[in-house]
Amino acid sequence: MGEPASPGHRSDTAKPAGGKARGGASEPRYTAWLVIFGRNRMALTGLVLVLLFLTLAIFAPWLAPYDSQAQDLSSTVRPPSLAHPFGTDDVGRDILSRIMLGARTSFLIAVMAVGIGLLAGVSIGLISGYCGGTTDLFVMRIVEVLQTIPTIVLAIAIVSVLQTGIVSVMIAVGVTGIPVYARLTRGTTLGLKEMEYVSAARCLGAKAGRILWRHLLPNALAPIIVQTSLGAGQAILVAAALSFLGLGVQPPTPEWGAMLSRGRTYVTFAPHLVAFPGLAIAALVLGFNLLGDGLRDTIDPRTRRLTEKGI
C-alpha cells in the first residue's frame, strides 16, 4: 500500500513466455501479478477479511447461536453477556446472530449492486468511447449528471420509486455506481482506440463488436477489477446509509445499517446496539478497500490516479 514502484516490477515489460498475445495482454502477466499480490501484507489482510465475512455470509444459518428472528420480549436491550456476546436488541433478539446473518444481506447487496453497475457502466463506457462524436458527448453528459447528483440523493430517489426492499436497494446502489465504470472504460477505450493493433484489426475487416470484445475490453479490465473491489465497499456504505435513513430492506431482515438506525435511540445507555453493527460495516468495507488497493498496487501503481480521477 503506497510503496513506490520499483522498476523491476513493471509487468508490461515482461516478455510473454507463452500463450496467445492478445493485443498487448499476455497470459503470464497474471502469474506475475499473483506473486506481487502475495507479497503485499495489506492486500492479504483485505482478502482474509473479505473471505471471513463471505464464510459468515454463506454459513451463517448454521454458525449463528440463535435464530436471527427469535425474540424475547422479557430481555430487551441487554448488554453483552455470556449468553449474548453482543447483547440483545430492542425486541430481545441476539445481536451476534443478526450481525452474522447481516453479512449475508450485505454481500448479496454488494455483489448485485456492483454487478449492475459493472455491466451497465462498462457497456456504456465501451460504446461511448468507441463510437465517439455526438453519441459520446450525449452519453457522457448523462453520465456526468448521474455522477453530479449526490449518490445518496439518487439512491433515495430510486428506492422511493421502487419501494423499499432489498431489490430496490440493489438497483439503486447499482445505478449510482454506473458513472465510475463508464468513465473508466471510456477513458481506456479512448486511449486504446487509436493504437496500432486496433487500426490493424479494423483494416482487416473486423467488426466493431469483435474489436470491443477481444481487444479493448481485456485492456480496460485491469482498472475495472480494482474498481470492483472498491465499489463493493462503497456499495455497502451506501446501502447502510439508505437503511439508516429508513429506506433499506424490509424488517425484520437483519441488515447492519438498519440495526444502526434502530439502535440510535438507545445510544446513550446501550451503545453496543450501535457499536457492533458499525464495526461490522467498517470491517467488511475495510476488507474490500484493502483488497482493492492491493489489486491496484499489483496491477499498476499509476492506475491509482486514473481511478480516483474517474477519467
Binding site: 449526490p150 445518496i152 445510544v267 460495516i281
Partner: protein, 306 residues
C-alpha cells in the same frame, strides 16, 4: 483559455437541464400524493382536490414539466405548498448552513490530511506513518453516520464538551464538520503521501539534494508543489462528494442545511422543493468542477485547455 471557459460554462446549462428532467421524472413516478400529505389525514376529498389544483398536479405531466422549465428560466423555482413559502427562499435560507459545514469539513480535511500526508511521507515507515495510514484507512471505511454517533457519544454525552445537535456558534460546528471531513481527510492524507513519495524518488530531487540544499528546501520547494496538483484535483471532486455526504451528517446532527431539507422534502413528496434542491446541488457541483479545472491548469503549466 477564455474560449475554454466559455465552452465549459455553456455546457453546464444542458447538464443542469438533464438533471432537472431526471429528477422531475423520478418523482412523478413515486407513490404518495403530495396533495393528500399536505391536506392531512382527515381531509375531505374536495379539499385534497383544491390543493392538488393549486399545486398544479392535476395537469398532465408534460404541461407540468414545461411550466416548471419556464419558471426556472425566469428564476422562479416555484412555491412549496408544504412549507407555504417560495422554494428559492427556503434554499437560500438553508444553503449557508450546508456551505458552512462543507467548507469547515474541507478545511479540516485539507489541513489535517495534508499535514499527516506530508509527515508520513517524510517519515516513511515510522510509527507515525503506520498509525496515520491506519487512521486514513479507518476514515475511508467507517460509515459517516456511525462515526457521528460515536463522536456524539464520547464528546457530547460522555464528556459534555460539545453540543450534539443544531447549529449556532462555532462549538456546534465541530462535531458535524469533523464527521463529514473524515473520509476526505483520509483520502487526502493517502494521496499526499503517495504523491510525495513518488516525487521524492525522482531524479531531479536527488540532483537538488546533491546541490547542497537543506532537507526542508528540498521537500517544500519541489516535492510538495508537484504533489499538490493531484491532491487539488481530487479535493475539487471531493467537494461534490462532501455536499452529498452532508445529507447523512446533517441528519445525524440535526444540522439545518440543504441535506436535511432534501430528506424532509423527499419524505413529504414536496416535488417542487426537491427539484429546486437538486438544481442547486447540480449547479454548485458543476461550478466547483470548473473552478478546480481552472486551478489545476494554473498550477501545472503543462496542462493547457484550448
Amino acid at each position: 483559455m477564455v474560449k475554454y471557459l466559455l465552452r465549459r460554462l455553456l455546457l453546464i446549462l444542458p447538464t443542469v437541464w438533464i438533471a432537472v428532467t431526471i429528477i422531475f421524472v423520478i418523482f412523478r413516478l413515486v407513490p404518495g400524493d403530495p396533495a393528500e400529505l399536505i391536506a392531512g389525514e382527515m381531509a375531505p376529498r374536495e379539499v385534497v382536490q383544491a390543493i392538488r389544483a393549486q399545486m398544479g398536479l392535476d395537469q398532465p405531466m408534460h404541461i407540468q414539466y414545461v411550466r416548471y422549465l419556464g419558471g426556472l428560466l425566469r428564476g422562479d423555482l416555484g412555491v412549496s405548498k408544504v412549507y407555504g413559502a417560495r422554494v428559492l427562499d427556503q434554499l437560500l435560507l438553508r444553503f449557508p448552513a450546508t456551505l458552512e459545514l462543507a467548507i469547515a469539513a474541507m478545511l479540516i480535511a485539507f489541513i489535517v490530511g495534508l499535514t499527516a500526508g506530508i509527515i508520513s511521507a517524510t517519515r516513511y515507515n515510522s510509527l507515525f506513518d503506520y498509525l496515520s495510514m491506519l487512521g486514513a484507512i479507518a476514515g475511508v471505511c467507517v460509515p459517516a453516520f456511525w462515526l457521528g454517533l460515536m463522536l456524539i457519544l464520547f464528546f457530547s454525552v460522555g464528556l459534555g464538551w460539545l453540543p450534539s445537535t443544531g447549529r449556532g456558534g462555532l462549538r456546534t460546528l465541530v462535531l458535524p464538520a469533523v464527521t463529514l471531513s473524515a473520509y476526505q481527510m483520509a483520502v487526502i492524507a493517502r494521496m499526499t503521501r503517495s504523491s510525495m513519495l513518488e516525487v521524492i524518488q525522482q531524479d531531479y530531487i536527488r540532483t537538488a539534494r546533491a546541490k547542497g540544499l537543506t532537507e526542508w528546501a528540498v521537500i517544500y520547494g519541489h516535492a510538495l508543489k508537484n504533489a499538490f496538483i493531484p491532491t487539488v484535483t481530487i479535493a475539487g471532486l471531493q467537494f461534490g462528494f462532501l455536499l452529498g455526504g452532508s445529507i447523512v451528517v446533517e441528519s445525524v446532527f440535526a444540522w439545518p442545511g440543504l441535506g436535511s431539507l432534501m430528506i424532509d422534502s423527499i419524505r413529504h413528496r414536496d416535488y417542487t422543493m426537491v427539484q429546486g434542491t437538486a438544481v442547486l446541488y447540480t449547479t454548485v457541483c458543476l461550478l466547483i468542477n470548473l473552478l478546480v479545472d481552472l486551478v489545476y491548469s494554473a498550477l501545472d503549466p503543462r496542462v493547457r485547455y484550448g
